[in-house]
Structure formats: structure tokens, C-alpha cells
């Protein structure tokens, strides 16, 4: 709707596009990284599967149902993290969470996370921040578990 500035600030057009996108939806079988995340506020679940190649994440998929914020965040995350080294993935997770949780300025986001600035408006809705961070926490947890299994 034209003119609904309040809603447009939260649900930016790019978020709605990512929300509807099916590019990275699904589940990889087999997968090197596999993690299951739950948002206790709403009970939403997300499953992240990924394949590693040469010390990085080659391909990442997310499955489950969720709100616009959580699904768009997962889709943008997949796009940003694929092809990155695991060390870089950890840095990017940290940088994204700093923006969402510590109010770090959007301008400080690394270039790979430029699209994620669209989630800026979510910070005005503290109860929704967990929706935005769910996929990121889940992938971090999956990487730690995969690293633990190798040791």
C-alpha cells in the first residue's frame, strides 16, 4: 500500500522479495553442517544444512516455517555466507548480531552484509529481533557442533 510508511520501514520491499524467494529453501542430504534452531517466543523452528568445501561453506539451505523477518533474514544470510571461509562466517555472524542486538550502526556492516541493512527497522521492535537472529544463531551453533565432532 502506498503511503504506509510505518509498515514500509519495517517490511522493506527487499525483505518481502527475500521472504518469497525459494532459492535457498530446502534441506541438503547429505550435509556437513546441520543445526536446528527454535525461537522460544513463537515456537518457530528452522533447520539449516550446509556443505563445506576447502574450509568454507559451499552451499547452505534453510527449512521450516517462519515470519517475514525470520525467513528473509535466513535467505539473505544464505546468500551472504555461501562461498565464505568458516572464519569469515563467524565474523559475519558477529557483525550482524552486533547490528541487531547492540545497535551497531548499519554503516559498520561488512560489505558482504550490505543487504542485511534492510533489517534495520526491526530494531524498533525488540520482540522481533529474535526472529531476525534465529538463522544466524542456528548456523553458528551448527558450525561449532561440526567443529566439535572433528576434534
Amino acid at each position: 500500500m502506498e503511503g504506509d510508511a510505518e509498515l514500509q520501514d519495517l517490511y522493506r520491499e527487499v525483505l518481502l522479495d527475500y521472504f518469497r524467494s525459494t532459492t535457498r529453501k530446502g534441506r541438503l542430504e547429505p550435509a556437513d553442517v546441520r543445526a536446528h534452531g527454535i525461537n522460544p517466543v513463537c515456537g518457530d523452528e528452522i533447520e539449516i544444512t550446509a556443505r563445506r568445501e576447502g574450509g568454507g561453506l559451499a552451499i547452505l539451505r534453510y527449512a521450516g516455517h517462519g515470519c517475514v523477518i525470520s525467513q528473509a533474514s535466513a535467505a539473505m544470510m544464505g546468500e551472504a555466507l555461501e562461498g565464505k571461509s568458516e572464519e569469515r562466517v563467524r565474523e559475519l555472524v558477529k557483525a550482524f548480531k552486533a547490528m541487531m542486538l547492540e545497535n551497531a550502526p548499519v554503516s559498520s556492516l561488512p560489505p558482504e552484509l550490505e543487504a542485511l541493512s534492510a533489517l534495520e527497522g526491526v530494531r524498533k521492535f525488540p520482540l522481533r529481533v529474535k526472529c531476525a537472529t534465529l538463522a544466524w544463531n542456528t548456523v553458528a551453533q551448527g558450525l561449532s557442533a561440526a567443529a566439535g565432532a572433528e576434534r
Binding site: D4, L7, Y11, C42, G43, H65, G66
Partner: protein
């Protein structure tokens, strides 16, 4: 029955004057907790300003006043629920604690491996998890009466979950998630027919419908003050005196004892046996005016008012093809709770867009994850009405709905936009 005058009622609730995100508050989350009338807020302030002291201990004036005020609230509660003996009203923190009290103090003493507890699939987590914990600890089995697709119980299937091993039947009188009003008397009758004890979760009944525990014939009834205009931090467990006498205490400490030596203790009389430690005195006192307020309105008028608003909301929501209303089709089987989903939209997004319109609804699983799984939805948006809501609140709900449909470009009754 005098019809409820919501316009006059609204004047008694200071919070309804505030703005939310620049718009007047439209509070439709009453199944979660209700707002408080001036009389309840004043009672809290009055208690702390004039009467504050510990109860059942001192012989000084304030202690006597505080004790009398708590006991007056207890008598008021007993009268409100049709309990002949005030000492069968135990004050807890909330209904969750009331149910846990029964699981610990009755369940652990009287249930053994091989016994069965019958529940329904529509229970709130608070009437499910305590039994799951007890079942694991004592080797008790849980059986669940299934919920039909329309959110009701089939009495034949309910009866089929009961048998000679059933020692307790615990169920909600009204579903918090769907508004389903269960056939409480028939269910209690079926439970008694197999010799089981019965616990009724009356959280969504006590605030909205006349309650008479003596005619129900249940053994335990639990509810929370904060869902019926009272303060948070006060819950009620009513139980038959004989069963309370037979039970062990829940928590040990002060107030619940009769005599303590280094070797042990004997228990105080009812209700204090179950009220260890300094209770939530001020909130128990302020629950009294909440009950007075509801009694003055008349529970039949409260119920009729809510049912009319719920019916109006259901009709408004169902006029939109993208909206699916859950719960019973028959208005007589629905309380003032209306749960719905918008096709293609997650309840959380519905909740946030409604909030921008000043409309407070609950979204999510409503502490009923097994029920949501059964109905194959991750959650719902839920509007729940109470005494201060009126038709303008249903209209606001409609405005919020249309704004949401417009923004997310969902086909509406007016055509695809």
C-alpha cells in the same frame, strides 16, 4: 439480566486512555491477562499506604488488619465460585502453581506406576507439563483425548481415554487458544463414572462465566486472578476439604506448620497448610475489589457481552476469503476468544502490523504447542474480548486486518489489489 454498558465500564480502566504507537489502545489480549479497574489499583495503594504488615503473626493492629483483609478476600473468592467453606480456597501465585501444587502434594502421594492420568490435546502447557514431569517420575501413563478439526472434543473419544486405571482427569473448561467451551459437567460425570478424581483448569472460565464448584462436583479447580481484573501474582486452587486434608503439604516453611521441633513438624489447618511463607498479601487483598466489580456487572451479562463481540469479530474476519477462523462453528460453544490465520502470513507479522494500529492481539502458539501441531498450524493470531471492549474495538480489528491485507497484497473480499 442488565446488559453490560461497556462505555461506562471503560471509564473505570485508566490504561485504556493511553496511546500505543500514536493510536488509542485497543486491548484484545484478555485471555493472556486483563487490565485493572481503578478500584483494584486503589486497593493496592491503600494497602501499602495504610495497612501493610505481615499476616497471621503479630498481635499488633496492622497485622490484624492485614490478616482480616486477606481473609475477607478469601471469603469473597469462596462466595464467587460457590465454595461453601472459605478454607478450601488456597491462594497461590497463579493457576500454574495451583496445578503444580496438586501434582506434587496429591499426585506424588497417591499415584503409583501403572496409574493413568487423562488429559486433552487442547491443554495449556501448564496443565500438561506438570503431569508429564509427574509421569516420568512415578511411572504414571498419560492419555490424551483427541481434539477434532473444529477444536472441540468428541465425548465418545473422551470417554474412551478413561478406564479403571484412570486416577485423575485434568482438563480445561475453556480452551485459551481456540475459545472452545467444553461440556464440563458431562466430562466430570464421565470421570466420576470411572472413579477418577477431576481437576478443572478454569482460567478461561472463571473470568467470563458464572462458576459454581459445588454443582460441578470436581475435586480441584484452578484459576488466576490476573485474568479476571485482579492483580498478577495471585492464583487460586479450590479443592474438596477431604482431599486437601489427605494431601501432604506442597512447600515447607512458616505459616504452614502447627508445631515444629528439631525432629519434625505437624501441619497447620486448612488453608494455611498449603500457604507456606509470607504470602502475596497486597495482591490477595486487591483481588477482592476485582471480584466485587465482576459480581456487580453480573457474570451472565459479562458472558453475553463477550459472546456478542466474538460473534461480530468472527463474521467480520470470515468475510475476508484469506482469513481462516479456528475453533467451534457453533457460537454457543465459543467463549470470547477468536483465533485466526491469514493465508500466506505468519502470526508474528500479523501481531506486529496490528500493533502499529494500536491493536494488541496475542500471536503464536498460546502455550498450546501440541494443539497447534494437531491443527497443523504453527500458531494463530488471537483476539480475546472482555468487559471493557466494545464494537469499536471489533471495528479497529477490522481496520488492522485490512491494512495488513493491503500491505502484504493479499487477495481480499474487495478483489485482488
Amino acid at each position: 439480566m442488565t446488559a453490560l454498558n461497556a462505555a461506562r465500564v471503560r471509564e473505570d480502566f485508566p490504561i485504556l486512555r493511553r496511546l500505543v504507537r500514536g493510536r488509542p489502545l485497543v486491548y484484545l489480549d484478555n485471555a493472556a491477562t486483563t487490565q485493572k479497574p481503578r478500584a483494584v489499583i486503589d486497593a493496592l495503594v491503600d494497602f501499602y499506604e495504610r495497612h501493610n504488615a505481615n499476616v497471621h503473626r503479630g498481635v499488633h493492629t496492622l497485622s490484624e488488619e492485614a490478616t482480616n483483609m486477606v481473609e475477607a478476600s478469601r471469603r469473597k473468592t469462596a462466595a464467587f465460585i460457590g465454595a461453601a467453606r472459605p478454607e478450601t480456597v488456597i491462594f497461590t501465585r497463579n493457576a500454574t502453581e495451583s496445578i503444580n501444587l496438586v501434582a506434587h502434594a496429591w499426585g506424588r502421594k497417591f499415584l503409583k506406576a501403572g496409574d493413568e492420568i487423562a488429559l486433552t490435546e487442547m491443554e495449556h502447557h501448564s496443565n500438561m507439563v506438570p503431569w508429564q514431569m509427574l509421569a516420568r517420575e512415578r511411572g504414571v501413563s498419560l492419555r490424551f483425548a483427541p481434539v477434532e478439526p473444529d477444536g472441540t472434543l468428541d465425548m465418545g473419544k473422551f470417554r474412551a481415554t478413561l478406564g479403571p486405571k484412570t486416577k485423575l482427569v485434568a482438563f480445561t473448561a475453556v480452551s485459551n487458544a481456540l475459545g472452545t467451551v467444553n461440556p464440563v459437567a458431562d466430562m466430570i460425570g464421565a470421570a466420576k463414572a470411572v472413579g477418577a478424581n477431576v481437576l478443572v483448569d478454569a482460567c478461561q472460565w472463571a473470568p467470563h462465566r458464572a462458576l459454581d464448584v459445588s454443582s460441578w462436583g470436581a475435586d480441584f479447580v484452578a484459576f488466576s486472578a490476573h485474568k479476571m481484573l485482579g492483580p498478577t501474582g495471585i492464583g487460586v486452587l479450590w479443592a474438596r476439604a477431604e482431599i486437601l486434608d489427605a494431601m501432604d503439604p506442597f512447600l515447607g516453611g512458616g505459616d504452614m506448620i502447627s508445631r515444629v521441633t528439631l525432629d519434625g513438624a505437624t501441619w497447620n489447618e486448612l488453608p494455611y497448610k498449603f500457604e507456606a511463607g509470607t504470602p502475596n498479601i497486597a495482591d490477595a487483598v486487591a483481588f477482592g475489589p476485582a471480584l466485587d466489580y465482576l459480581s456487580a456487572l453480573g457474570l451472565d451479562a459479562v458472558r453475553a457481552h463477550e459472546e456478542a463481540l466474538a460473534a461480530r469479530a468472527v463474521a467480520m474476519l470470515e468475510a475476508e476469503p484469506a482469513v481462516r477462523v479456528l475453533g467451534p462453528r457453533e457460537p454457543a460453544r465459543r467463549s470470547g476468544v477468536v483465533s485466526f490465520n491469514i493465508a500466506g502470513l505468519h502470526p508474528h507479522d500479523v501481531g506486529t502490523t496490528f500493533d502499529l494500529e494500536g491493536v494488541a492481539v496475542r500471536v503464536g502458539h498460546h502455550c498450546c504447542q501440541p494443539l497447534m501441531s494437531k491443527l497443523q498450524c504453527g500458531g494463530t493470531a488471537r483476539a480475546s474480548f472482555y468487559v471493557y471492549n466494545d464494537e469499536s474495538d471489533v471495528d479497529a480489528l477490522g481496520r488492522a486486518l485490512r491494512r495488513t491485507l493491503d500491505f502484504f497484497k493479499i487477495a481480499t473480499k474487495a478483489g485482488v489489489r
